[in-house]
């Protein structure tokens, strides 16, 4: 049963702190492709390998299916909607302290559904989205000592909101995310409202030789002083169907730093769209603890379905 649960959830060992792993880093509200209708399905399993002091522990996780859709309504005006996972609260950690053994297992996330509009004015795209945050997460702490076992559980319900806006030109972009909050209801306890961080993303997109680059700086600003307000950097390049990106992304949880390398390959599907295969390698580090994550991500992009239907 525990194996089944482990296969159905995803997570990071660092997700036990704060409100979990922020999955929205470097995410901007801009459309990938302008002016066409598009539906994208994304599958994103993960394999995580923990390393500390020469010991290793592996965990295989899966993520929920993601869906996004964008529909051009009139020339230069596109509406879009989709779902995402915002903060992942899953983890699976064992603790051994002399006679006491604790197994902490968390599952769940703060999910997000969003809707927005994109307006193209010449070479400039202006985008605005609003998100509804929701979700349920639970934690089971299993204590074992001298052959006796006792279980403690936590249950959380989330409701919240977030707003995004941005402006993008061919060679630069700026995006702002703010006015976000999430209300957490703990079982048998009072409601707690958490202010989500404001976030500013600035990107420049020069072209060096035949390689279009993307350089993104992101600053996440938390009101809560218990958390960091990290600065993040990401650089990417692509040519044809290949793409590569690397980034440094300190977490809002103190002392946790994440480094990542993404490799993309897009397979054109004639008259349909494309299948994008991304292999994401991530290393998270906190003191002597390292977490390596290998996450193949498969996205099916279906283009211009609505246009064809009209024909």
């Amino acid at each position: 049963m525990s194996i089944l649960i482990a296969l159905l959830v995803n997570g990071s060992v660092f997700s036990v702190d704060g409100i979990g792993r922020d999955l929205s880093t470097f995410r901007t509200p801009f459309l990938e492709t302008q002016g066409i209708g598009q539906i994208a399905f994304t599958l994103n399993p993960e394999y995580t390998l923990l390393s500390q002091g020469g010991d290793f522990r592996g965990i295989f996780w899966t993520n929920p299916l993601k869906l996004s859709i964008s529909i051009p309504v009139i020339s230069g005006f596109t509406v879009m909607a989709g779902n995402l996972e915002r903060f992942d609260q899953s983890y699976d950690i064992y603790l051994q302290d002399s006679t006491l053994r604790i197994h902490g297992l968390g599952e769940g996330a703060i999910e997000e559904v969003y809707a927005g509009v994109n307006k193209d004015i010449g070479p400039v795209s202006i985008v605005a989205t609003g998100s509804y945050l929701f979700g349920t997460a639970w934690e089971i702490w299993n204590y074992s000592i001298s052959g006796y076992t006792i279980i403690d559980t936590f249950l959380y319900h989330y409701r919240g909101r977030m707003f995004n806006c941005g402006l993008r030109h061919k060679i630069f972009s700026v995006a702002y995310e703010g006015f976000g909050e999430v209300r957490m209801v703990k079982l048998e306890e009072d409601t707690l409202t958490i202010d989500l961080p404001q976030r500013l993303s600035i990107g420049v997109y020069p072209k060096i030789g035949k390689w279009p680059l993307g350089i993104v700086y992101e600053h996440s600003l938390w009101n809560d002083t218990a958390y960091n307000s990290p600065h993040r950097f990401r650089i990417s390049a692509h040519r044809g169907v290949f793409g590569v990106a690397c980034y440094v992304s300190p977490w809002y949880i103190k002392d946790v730093t994440e480094y990542g390398l993404d490799i993309n390959y897009a397979i054109p599907l004639r008259n349909v769209g494309s299948a994008q295969l991304k292999m994401a390698f991530t290393m998270r580090q906190k003191d002597g603890l390292r977490e390596f994550q290998f996450a193949p991500k498969l996205t099916f992009l279906l283009n211009e379905l609505f246009t064809r239907r009209r024909k």
């Binding site: 060992v13 290793f56 950690i93 001298s146």
Partner: protein, 393 residues
Amino acid sequence: MGNYRHGSDECLARVSCDSWVWVYYKLDLLRNMVMINAMNRYIVLMCLLLVACNELPIGDDELRVRGDLEPQFLELSRFSTFTEHKEVNAGTAQNLVFGMNEEYEARSMLSFEFADSSYQGLDEIKLVLIHSSEFNNDTIAFSIHLMDEQFSETEATWTDRSIDELWQTPGGDFNSDSIRFGVAEADSIVLYFNYLELAQIQAADGMIIIPRDTGFCYLSSKEAGRAARIELKKNDVTIPILAETDCYIVNGPEPVLLEDWIGAGWIFRDFVRFNYDTLLDSSMAVYAELSFRCSEYFASRDSIEIGVRQLLEPFSTFDTPTGPLIALERVGVGDTLVKIDIVKHAQRMIEHPDSNFGFYIAISPQNYDVSRIKLVRGSHRLNIGYVLPPQPR
């Protein structure tokens, strides 16, 4: 943990469960068979990547961000212990018992419903009593007497024949002349009767089995599915008549003031209460072990189950309301130390320190047999292991 080293390519797979060693071994064999030297280490690496099978405490410091989680241990001081006794009906018991020694005497009572008031042409009339094989039954003599008064199966005790009527003589009102003598031995007791005796049995309000020797004998009751029966045989056809009612009654010793006993049949419960310690405030019990020592056993079986129930109100009488069983532990007869997990009781005590009314230790089920254990006075201990619970997010 398992380690496997292959000498030729110096590839070391340090993995954390034996299945890894098995996987690696199989892969090594495969390599030798098909000579896939170059691929070998990558296959092992892929296996390591794709399968998770260990529970090493890696990253355990991350759990500690939610709390200290250091286990602490505490022994609660004892407030009081004493023994309570009550004479309780055994009509629902799985066994019938008859026997006696210096302290106890037990008698079994049966009654039958006959379809006909008179039977003709019977070849054989016999009463069959089946021994309960779980017990070490003694070979003892007994006599069977017909009852002068009716009894209530679910209310009769040594002193009462029903809830509001006493026996004229404690221990049952029966004809002093026995209808049959016998010796309890082998797997079952079979007693033969004639027509005249059958008529007496039919006219009586039941029968009672009186022990005549020291020792105890256990029979299966109808609750155990193997009731005593009268078999009437006619022309090779046997008509079984199962006992309509059966129960046993016991007389035993009064508890000694400064001794702690638990007992079944003639029931003793040991009350114990420990003082709550405020160190436990807001903590979570992860371990609570109630222990006590035993000095004397009186039992006809090899092991006994001891149960613990929590009092829901301050102790007043034997019948002070209790909750359901919070722990049940089987101990071997002769064990000198008994340890029982009562972590749920400890947790309730922490959450509701005002409801720390103590608990009963008793043999369970309390009417299963006639047995008794003497507990060493002052040996009760309650050790609690606790942690401060993790903070929610």
